[in-house]
Subunit: 325 residues, 2 copies
């Protein structure tokens, strides 16, 4: 089942069930008016939404046309956004880029940060760049959406709380990170609003590509029409989503609708390319002494998508342009 | 005007307007069902709520009894919780306690961290302590609640977005902080759910005690019935809420209902006592070589409140007990 949030002039938009090809859908209506309402009461509402989904599959003509421009983030405002950094290759490269050592517990203790969740960007919403000197970068990631998740989950019990999966562009101002992290309290100004893919899908849509709490498919990113990378999201995700959930629930529980990110998808094999510019720049520094890739500038276009083994688009495309605010 | 959120079996509770003595109130009803709904549409809804407030003041007998046990946090789930650390004395002492230097930009660049906001504790909700070795501490703070706040506020334009003020207990597991901050991504496991005072009040309720984006009154904290401190919240708040809002809006905007904390209220004059145990322990380490104050344990009771110059209770009391979960 694929879900989306359609613009309707209200803060939370309205929940739609989306057809297999992503071009049409049916509104959740009074029973499931918003994505948050569905997640608040998932056990009761999921069967109803699956009914709508089957109707769309059986009688595609019943669907109402749905344009990506009309979609908001699956949760346009969310109660919590926790972003992991589960790809070791990304951590090592990006820390090198800012002259920092990877943490000693790199392989035993997951890295996560608490992100801002009050304003989330939709798949076609522009990225405002107030100051090109801030070093705008994209970061292509997988994201799971949880239902009510209690304190003290194991990786196995934690995974049972993954209700939906989507993609994000964890937009980052790279040049604001070093002074911010030097203060010791984590990211803040360096992380503006994050953008999300059009569709949030149930794990069963991924078939065998979803196993061990990882999505075993490549994630494609393109900048200005040229592919920057298509790293495999599965094998090098050192901590799966189950381990990340066990980590975040050590001392507290999470409310339905919590978003949990994988961190930037990254492979050691450099022929797979990159899911952010910071990794490119670091490789250039290592090889040439200085970066030749520039950060993003006004007018740039970033596209992020994932396809299944048959080439079917799974989450729709994040397709954003950088603009002067 | 004083507002509260009353338990009604739903996730967001229901909004109530509270009488001057805090003992009774009137529900916001269909026009203002929840605190979030009121903040989403503050300009339209505020006059209506003020009307209810005047009715309560003119005819106290119209109020319905309201017990603190029935109250949830003003926002039981919030879209964003940003906590500052604006009292220099607290930063210096607590960093000494963990052998860390204060940041070089201590007096020029505010410290804030992004907190978890999906589950907030009410004023009488217990504090679960799964492991006494985690070093449970309270932190008494002021909190402002914002309406829609755009990117790029100045301290002056920022202050205009402060719609409500309340108190919090920013509960902290001190012993989880050093390994967590060593990883470089800020707090996460060290910050379980934060607790809030019964009432959120409009700034005009503070009269002249609210000026320059600071609350010029002492904040009282008591542990097991003994006062730990009553530091003045105004003069030593190095960055006022206006400066904190300018800081957090540098790169992004915030949605209505965002919570912004002052950080632990702290005075250099040690006769004012403390708003957290870490400061006591640091002073003991400096003077005696080792801390003699223990962190909180199961059965402990923490009470936090603020009174105006005539002794009137402003926000109601945070009154929590530590329990085994």
């Amino acid at each position: 089942m694929r879900l989306a949030t359609r613009r309707n002039g209200r803060r939370d938009g309205e929940l739609w069930v989306v057809s297999p090809d992503g071009s049409s859908g049916l509104p959740g209506g009074d029973l499931a008016p918003t994505m948050q309402a569905a997640l608040d009461d998932w056990k009761q509402i999921e069967p109803y939404l699956r009914g709508l989904s089957e109707r769309l599959e059986d009688s595609p003509s019943q669907g109402i046309a749905l344009a990506p421009e009309d979609l908001l983030a699956p949760l346009p405002r969310a109660y919590e956004w926790v972003d992991g950094s589960a790809y070791i290759n990304h951590i090592v490269l990006v820390r090198k880029a800012r002259g920092a050592e990877p943490p000693e517990t790199l392989r035993s203790d997951p890295l996560v940060y608490q992100g801002g969740s009050g304003i989330m960007l939709g798949p076609r919403q522009d990225i405002p760049l107030p100051d090109p000197g801030w070093g705008l970068d994209f970061e292509s990631e997988l994201v799971v959406i949880l239902d009510d998740t209690p304190r003290g989950c194991s990786p196995t019990t934690g995974l049972a709380h993954v209700k939906l999966i989507t993609l994000c562009n964890d937009i980052t101002f790279r040049n604001l990170i070093p002074p911010e992290l030097a203060k010791g309290f984590g990211f803040f100004q360096s992380k503006p609003a994050t953008a999300f893919a059009p569709f949030a899908i149930t794990p069963d849509e991924l078939g065998e590509s979803w196993h061990e709490g990882r999505v075993h498919l490549p994630l494609h990113s393109s900048l200005n029409g040229e592919q920057t990378g298509s790293p495999e999201a599965g094998p090098e995700m050192h901590f799966g989503f189950g381990e990340l959930i066990a980590h975040i629930t050590r001392t507290r529980g999470f409310t339905a609708g919590t978003l949990l990110g994988s961190g930037t998808v990254s492979n050691e094999d450099r022929s797979r390319g990159v899911s952010c510019l910071a990794e490119c720049r670091m490789r250039e520094i290592i090889e040439q002494g200085a970066p030749s890739t520039e950060f993003m500038k006004v007018g740039d276009r970033i596209q992020i998508e994932m396809r299944d083994s048959e080439g079917r688009d799974l989450f729709g495309q994040i397709d954003q342009r950088v603009v002067t605010p």
